[in-house]
Symmetry: C2
């Protein structure tokens, strides 16, 4: 593994501390230090060693970095990740002046109040190090830190900083997910939102209901066993990343019918466009006590598997016609003289009761508070996906918000229609969201000062109609890194707190590092431009 | 290497001979045959063996396929590839009925008039074979051919079927190019159009002028040596693919100034948008005998390296202002009382004289016949890129045409603007060209019957402002395969000769095979749809 960026010396000089995401504050000098061959990381409290083993393995073995935890209580990473959205992720990092390195015990210092804070700081330290080949090719090059003395005070603007992956429309091997977690960690993202099931397939092994995956997955090889999910959860934990599962309900559940057809209304009804946003149609039946009990047990089991304090019960794109044309649901509606929304409210509140008992805060897609009036508890967290303009309405209802808007953060937009027999079909959420579009997002836009505290953060999302392991890296990175900085660094491009012109050279650096680590992050410009910051800017 | 597609049995039955591109004609039966473990390919004339060694290595070692060449003269692949655009690439393939396989010498038969024809037929044979796992997992599965007896008569509608790669804006390792040639062969493409140099870098080693690459490449590691180019040419030859180099002139040459600044006008002039379509500005000087002599020698050297009968001298996006503001060119224009077009004509005709002496037919981008009146010889082949509507004007001037239109075949369109400081920038050639858009192209559209013979074929193109080895496969495939069928199979979607609905299930098959071979071709739909042809079609 490489832990430094190989760049020409000229760039090293002009790009002092090209960190991504940008720290809250930093001060730099103008000297260089060279990291000695015997560089080591020194842990100030030995009980940290085990917990940080993985991160330390990844850390550069160069000169000397002292880690210390400014806290009377040392928790476990498991505790911290379970409480990530109220955790102090901040850290301080200092690299001494070159002149202060004469003492053999001279050290860089990293301090934080939590283990996750130390992990965030270690990532920053890693990004400070650049490799330069020796002029004589037969000699090894060296690793350097520029702009010392250097002092960084850093912490996130928002606690929820996510990446969502849909593993149901097309399936991804676990190794691709682990690599994605590594890449997420390199941008200080905090949450892997795993949209693990959908109408096309149900790849999640649910212990009490093994038939769901046995019959609902694309194949026996395309299942996430509980061992797999645990592996992902534990790998994420080592990186300070919480895994938030989503089992989308009551829509997007046709795949459940492969094992339990009795729970699904309007299964594969035609034309599909009357009954669902995409084929195949099918939704969990409402007003059916068996189905609610089943759904609650599915969530209860899935909640046990995930490490985030949040759990998403989904709730997007419910189709009313599906229920009105389903004889069984129709009977229930008539027998109780109820509306679809009344039965939907009963269903969703039932699911959320189960989540709360499982110590999970329920997360839903925006329709469940904006389109339907279900009387969901105020604690329910709402993901806004249809349009970023809808955030205000959610906040006005008093719900906490996670930004996931298609107009800024959908990685799949702009690739054309995926439906068949549609030669000129365009993407519903055209155009393609370029990195700078995501980057220009203001997380607090259009909210009152009072509402600012309702913003938990945001995420970049990859829906997989036209994605799979083949383009996971290339469609996600470096664009998802742009979203990561929006929610770590905060601030507004309009107010000049962030700038796409300032950010691009740093993002190039981040991308070269990612490629060196084996991530197929795409070039945003010709290499010529990356070598010459600003010279490929548009002239408007 | 795998040479068969693994699919559920239900699909094997419904998808008789899911070949890509579709053969000119085929007849199929309804039986299956199983290919024996000792299947072998039998070569009817032993002198074929060496030439086809590579293709045979790739062929399934299953039952027995007899290859024969219906020609009195057996040429070499080198000869054939050098004459690819007038070569007979047709072949006949028959697979006997299951009932005729009782004899131990029963054989499938592949006949062609050329070695390249045999290669095309072998690819077809490979696509006939499907692998089915055994019901008992401890036993090996078997390979099958469906729909026997089967007889295919096939040959291309157009001789030039290409894929263009720009390796100058971002660089690609040779291994990526070789893999791309394999993928091209699997769609029966005939020409690798290697846009090898541009204004950002000059990675091509030119023997007489080594400084061009030494100073013009991004780095010493990002050079295509003559050994590298020869490797690509020979690898392509083994697949029946010609390599057509393009050294774009006189525009797109700023990178030459790194070694030979005296030949470049308006080098890096600002603002770049006044002097070039993208940064950095710089064009080969016109009206300067030294520069013409230098450019001719560069082309002469490059022409020796390539295997195609064609060679492209480029010629797109010449900027007139660059010359008018360049003191040296201005002096030449005034001294000779000439227009820029007059000097441009002298320059381009000079280059083409050199190419003709090198036995290469010159290829140019459309501006050199539509925008400038240079008196180019009728033999000059013209690539239409700006708009497919311009093909008619080129044909009206009597030039042969290669379709390369941005509105159908540009793989890079739709990914947003790549210039810096441009948050809402869209791609100039929006939207993204989905596979079915390319597929719906009619190569003979808007031409008179008399002009049909001027159409040599077409190509899919990848410009690399936002592409590199990281997304080469995923941005190119399977979309470039759609273009491949347009020019192999010919015909029109409008006239019902081809259909996007019929094509999609076959293209899914092609893509699953490509993925099995290690090509990161992206899914066009959820796997659910690929398993159920037609069920994800749009309902308009």
């Amino acid at each position: 593994m490489l832990f430094s960026t190989l760049l020409p010396l000229s760039l090293l000089v002009t790009r002092a501390a090209a960190l991504w995401p940008r720290p809250r504050s930093s001060s730099t000098g103008s000297s260089f230090i060279k990291l000695g061959d015997s560089f080591k990381v020194v842990v100030a409290r030995c009980e940290l060693a085990k917990e940080l083993e993985r991160a330390l393995e990844n850390a550069p073995i160069l000169s000397r970095l002292s880690l210390s935890l400014n806290s009377t209580v040392v928790g476990t990473l498991a505790d911290e990740v379970a409480n990530l959205y109220t955790l102090d992720e901040s850290y301080s990092l200092s690299v001494p002046a070159a002149t202060d390195l004469t003492s053999p015990t001279a050290s860089a210092h990293l301090t934080a109040r939590t283990l996750v804070g130390l992990l965030r700081g270690l990532e920053t330290f890693t990004q400070l190090v650049y490799f330069l080949p020796a002029a004589d090719e037969t000699v090894n090059g060296s690793r350097y830190i520029a702009s010392v003395p250097l002092r960084i005070e850093d912490g996130p603007a928002f606690p929820y900083r996510g990446f969502m992956l849909d593993t149901a429309r097309n399936w991804y091997p676990v190794e691709d997910i682990l690599r994605t977690l590594d890449t997420m960690a390199s941008t200080k993202l905090s949450t892997f939102h795993w949209h693990i099931t959908d109408q096309q397939s149900f790849p999640l092994e649910i212990p009490t209901f093994p038939d769901l995956a046995t019959y609902g997955a694309y194949s026996a090889d395309q299942v996430y066993s509980t061992v797999d999910v645990t592996k992902v959860v534990e790998y994420g934990r080592g990186l300070g990343i919480a895994v938030m599962l989503e089992v989308d309900m009551p829509g997007h559940t046709a795949s459940i019918a492969n094992a339990y057809p009795e729970h699904i209304a309007c299964l594969d009804a035609r034309p599909w466009s009357t009954y669902a946003a995409e084929p195949p149609a099918g939704q969990l039946r409402l007003g059916r006590p068996d189905t609610l009990a089943f759904s609650k047990r599915v969530l209860q089991n899935a909640a046990k598997l995930s490490s985030s304090a949040f759990f998403s019960s989904g709730g997007d794109e419910m189709n009313e016609r599906c229920y009105l044309d389903d004889p069984e649901t129709k009977t229930a509606l008539e027998a109780r003289n109820a509306t679809v929304d009344e039965l939907l409210g009963e269903f969703v509140r039932g699911l959320h009761d189960t989540l709360l008992v499982s110590d999970k805060t329920p997360v839903v897609w925006e329709e469940l508070v904006l389109k339907h009036d279900l009387g969901l508890a105020n604690e329910t967290v709402v993901m806004v996906w249809i349009d970023s303009a809808n955030v205000r309405a959610v906040a006005d209802k008093g719900h906490r918000v996670i930004h996931a808007a298609s107009d800024y953060f959908y990685l799949d937009c702009g690739a054309g229609a995926w439906l068949g027999r549609y030669p000129n079909g365009t993407s519903w959420c055209d155009p393609f969201k370029i990195w700078s579009k995501s980057y220009s997002f203001n997380p607090l836009f259009n909210l009152t000062r009072e509402q600012h505290k309702l913003v938990l953060g945001g995420e970049a999302l990859l829906w997989s109609e036209q994605a799979g392991p083949e383009n996971l890296d290339s469609i996600a990175w470096p664009r998802a890194a742009a979203a990561a900085e929006v929610f770590w660094t905060g601030g507004s491009v309009k107010e000049g707190e962030r700038s796409v012109g300032e950010a691009l050279p740093r993002l190039h650096d981040w991308r070269y590092r990612a490629v060196q680590r084996g991530v197929k992050a795409i070039p945003l410009q010709p290499h010529w431009c990356a070598l010459r910051p600003g010279q490929c800017d548009v002239e408007l």
